[in-house]
Amino acid sequence: MTTQNPIQRNVGELARAQRGPLRFDVLLAAAVIGLLACSLITIQAATTDDVAGQPHFYLYRQLAYAIVGLGLMFALSRIDYSRLRELKYGLYVAMIGLITLVILIGGTTRGSRRSFFLPFFSFQPSELGKLLLILALSAFMVDRARRLHDRDTTARVMLIALFPAMLVMLQPDLGTGLVFVVIALATLFIAGTPGRHFAGLAAVGAVAVAFTLVAAPAVGVQVLKPYQMDRLTAFLNPSQDPGAEGYQQAQSRIAIGSGEKTGRGADEATQTRLDFLPEHHTDFVFAVVGERFGFLGAAIVLSLYALLIWRTLRILTLAKNLYGALIAGGIVAMLLFQVFVNVGMTVGIMPITGVPLPLMSYGGSSVIVTLMAIGVLQSIYAQARVSAASKGRVLTF
């Protein structure tokens, strides 16, 4: 047979679309794999000397987290995310429960209770909380999609997000708390909340910030812990105190700048190797990229993030329903915020807030949860393909 009749061809396409191999976004997957590879290379470069006798200590662990995360990603991409909508109360309660529990009984790291120390890794509920919030908040938003112009809707969405955000800030983890707020704002924005509601929120936010930073300390109430204040103000005036908080950022800037165009060799990367760079495999991993691999390396990593954001935005537009679009919007806001705040912190244009760089920073919770979020994105993509195929619509990359 040299020719197919049109009907046969159509059936074949439909069958292929439903079979699977094409039911995920290849470029999104490529960006994820690329970032994971960059993460492993960088973490190996940064931590060779950190654990005596075990040069691959962090590499192997990060690899394990990535494999677990990829497995969960694949699993999530195979289910229909729409069914998660029905579980919204369960997801929300689980999130609040976990975050509350960690504040009560979690392990302490440098003065904050963020993690459960499990035998194989330390689990941070607030990381999982980001994804759970996106799923639950989007579901709530869908329910309210016809009443977007009610101030009540906006207020409720914000309160639903602010409650866990406050709990996370109590741990204290200012950065992750802000991620929760950004997710809420993005969800409102994608759903189509009128601009005046955002203006109102901005006004309330400004008052709250002024109260936190100026009014409350003036009357002796410390809303932020002193170190949080220091971090924020050190960013504003780095030369004032190069010894403490400003030190980290100064060392990070030096590390990145010293990488110049193509980076310093393994032996010459002294900022990382001689421990001048703090937290070089977690929060400041991007500075290691900058020192070790230069502008070239940093540009590659940023380009991979750009690819990730672009594909996520595209999935947002493809989603078969509003729920999917809102989830994708939440995820894109989460990723974009974290990337900008973390990279901005290492290059000295944002304050130190302890937000991990998605997929790059060492850490099981962050890597696994981000990969789960990618899995949900792939699910949205896959469902869109199935839906479109069934409607006979032609999709292109």
Binding site: F189, E260, F276, G290, A298, A299, T317, A325
Partner: protein, 633 residues
């Protein structure tokens, strides 16, 4: 049919706009980060790379051993030894009092120093030198060093360093001339002489160490060491070895120095060591031709090695305690005394040169003389009869010189009153210019001086002839050092050259090759008539060699020509001070020796016997202690 929201076609134009806005925001944020990266890595890359390199490189200064100090024949007087010292960087100590105490408590058993002592040392030493390391214990065992370095986190601010300590193999010998060394202070660093000397360098603080610091200091070594963020060394980058300072050769002769110190002990009955309440004394031996100081000693003395260890304030105070004789004071250059009859040399030169008398002018000495309403007497009222200058010096007739003092009062030459003028020309009343810092200048009492004081109501009476009479025999307000005395006698001995005394002879490398001759300021010349000089030297010669000469019995049987003058200075509230100045001519090695013994009695009783012992050493004559009996001033 009603379309449920979840099945609504999601992509509406409004949503498309919103997604576009979100994409725009993303684009903007990425652009910001890219531009920032470009700025940091491409535009500022070189500068930040330099910062990164500066971060990891520490310059570690390793001290240079100071140059040795040797005597005129190359025998070592001061050298160095290496010690391992436990030190504390006070600036890095914990600020919290309790934490600091805890650190001291951990350190105490390791180095065997009590907590209270550590605390006191840290406070005292960092007060003296705010930026220098505080030394807690020296000469610690390698095990102590290893223990501390292996537990550096438990001993913050504590370091174990190799330090060079000054070592004085000859112990008490010439202890006062060397001075001390120590880390450069903040004020020192501003001084011209220490320009460019890095903090932490050991420099001379006093004495010869100070004067010749430029040569002795050496050049510290520098190692560039790669360190990690915690300051731990991870590898060396470059090294410059420390360079030892130059060797300083002194004009001092160790044998003569030792003989001088022993002579003072024997003849002056001065205990050598410090610690007891005892008499002081000093001697200077000098080459009259050029001012090379052959020996210089002061009593009581001490073992210089105490300065090699950190000196407690209490021990330092003891060294300066007058009740203990202030052993730290170099009486040869700081001791200001009336000189008694040794000053008659000056009176003689002044009277002859100004024409007040001739060498043959005969004055009757009945044993006393009435001047104004005061009766001035010879010691024990001894009458010497009609005598001229030469004999007056030999027997040390006070009456003769009282007359000169009386007659000289108000007699002026071109530059002032003759007695004061000649005293000044022969080097009194001003520093001799010896190469030791802070020399005393002394005082020549003059009408101007006393009348000025009187005008300011600092004294009860104006100048009177009696002041001049006292000065003529070295009494009253005259203040002079043994060194000034040696300079004045040298000037008469060498024919009028007022030499600048000096201890430093030349700068050498470690092998003894001459690098630089030390030039002292050129000598001044005063014109002394040869005939007068003969008479004066004759008088001094007669004093040691003729019947009735004041030190004739002391030098009986010495077998060499010695010219000498006794002095017995009366001092308020204590026994007389014994003085002797001798000049021994010699074609190759002439020598002038001045010695004084506080509360030593008559010149012939203590100082003259000591000088004889020193001259015996110098000329290889058998040493014999001969105490003179002459009761003259």
């Amino acid at each position: 049919m009603l379309q449920l929201p979840e099945n609504r076609a999601p992509i509406t134009p409004q949503l498309a706009v919103r997604v576009a806005m979100l994409g725009g925001i993303a684009l903007l944020l990425f652009a910001i980060v890219f531009f920032r990266l470009w700025y940091l890595q491409v535009l500022s890359g070189d500068r930040l790379l330099a910062s990164a390199n500066a971060n990891r490189v520490r310059d570690i200064v390793s001290p240079a051993p100071r140059g040795d100090i040797v005597d005129r024949s190359g025998r070592v007087m001061v050298d160095n030894r290496i010690s391992t010292a436990v030190q504390v960087d006070a600036a890095q100590l914990p600020e919290d009092e309790a934490e600091r105490r805890a650190l001291y408590a951990r350190l105490s058993p390791v180095i065997g120093v009590r907590v209270a002592t550590i605390d006191r040392e840290v406070r005292e030493q960092s007060k003296l030198l705010p930026y220098a390391n505080v030394t807690l214990k020296q000469d610690v065992a390698p095990a102590v060093r290893d223990y501390i370095y292996e537990r550096q986190n438990r001993f913050p601010a504590v370091t174990v360093n190799r330090v060079y300590l000054r070592s004085y193999p000859l112990k008490e010998l010439a202890a006062q001339i060397f001075g001390t060394v120590g880390e450069i202070s903040a004020e020192d660093q501003k001084a011209n002489r220490f320009r460019g000397v890095p903090q932490g360098t050991i420099v001379g603080k006093d004495g010869l160490e100070y004067t010749y610091d430029r040569f002795l200091r050496g050049r510290p070594g520098a190692a560039r060491v790669q360190v990690d963020a915690f300051g731990g060394a991870t590898g060396q980058v470059s090294v410059r070895e420390p360079e030892q300072g130059r060797q300083l050769k002194l004009s001092v002769d160790v044998d003569l120095q030792r003989a001088g110190q022993q002579a003072m002990a024997e003849a002056g009955k001065i205990p050598i060591t410090n610690g007891t309440k005892n008499r002081g004394g000093a001697f200077v031996a000098m080459d009259p031709r050029n001012g090379e100081v052959l020996a210089m000693g002061s009593y009581p003395t001490f073992d210089s090695n105490i300065f090699a260890k950190p000196l407690s304030q209490a021990a330092y105070n003891r060294l300066n305690d007058e009740d203990r004789g202030a052993p730290l004071i170099n009486r040869a250059v700081f001791g200001l005394y009336p000189t008694g009859s040794t000053f008659k040399l000056v009176t003689a030169v002044a009277a002859l040169q100004s024409g007040l008398i001739s060498p043959d002018t005969v004055i009757d000495d009945p044993g006393s003389i009435q001047i104004g309403n005061i009766l001035f007497k010879n010691a024990r009222n001894q009458a010497n009869g009609a005598i001229a200058m030469q004999r007056a010096l030999a027997v040390s007739s006070d009456v003769y010189f009282y007359r000169l003092g009386r007659d000289a009062d108000g007699v002026r030459d071109r530059e002032g009153d003759i007695l004061q003028d000649w005293a000044e020309r022969l080097g009194f009343g001003k520093p001799t210019g010896i190469d030791l810092p802070g020399e005393a200048k002394g005082l020549i009492p003059s009408p101007e001086w006393r009348n000025e004081l009187y005008k300011e109501k600092l004294t009860d009476r104006p100048w009177s002839v009696g002041d001049n009479v006292n000065l003529s025999v070295g009494q009253g307000d005259l203040q002079a050092t043994p060194l000034q005395m040696a300079v004045a006698y040298s000037a008469v001995a060498n024919g009028g050259k007022v030499v600048t005394p000096h201890l430093g002879l030349r700068v050498e490398d470690a092998a003894g090759r001459v690098l630089e001759e030390i030039r002292s300021s050129p000598a001044r010349t005063v014109k002394i008539d040869e005939a007068y000089r003969e008479v004066i030297l004759g008088g001094l010669r007669d004093a040691t060699s003729t019947q009735g000469g004041t030190s004739a019995d002391v030098f009986a049987g010495f077998g060499r020509e010695v010219l000498g003058k006794t002095g017995t200075a009366e001092r308020a509230g204590q026994a007389d001070q014994s003085w002797y100045v001798a000049y021994a001519p010699d074609a190759k090695r002439p020598i002038v020796v001045a010695a004084t013994v506080e509360q030593g009695g008559f010149g012939a009783a203590a100082a003259a016997p000591a000088v004889r012992l020193m001259l015996s050493e110098w000329f290889g004559v058998e040493k014999k202690l001969v105490v003179g009996t002459s009761a003259t001033r």
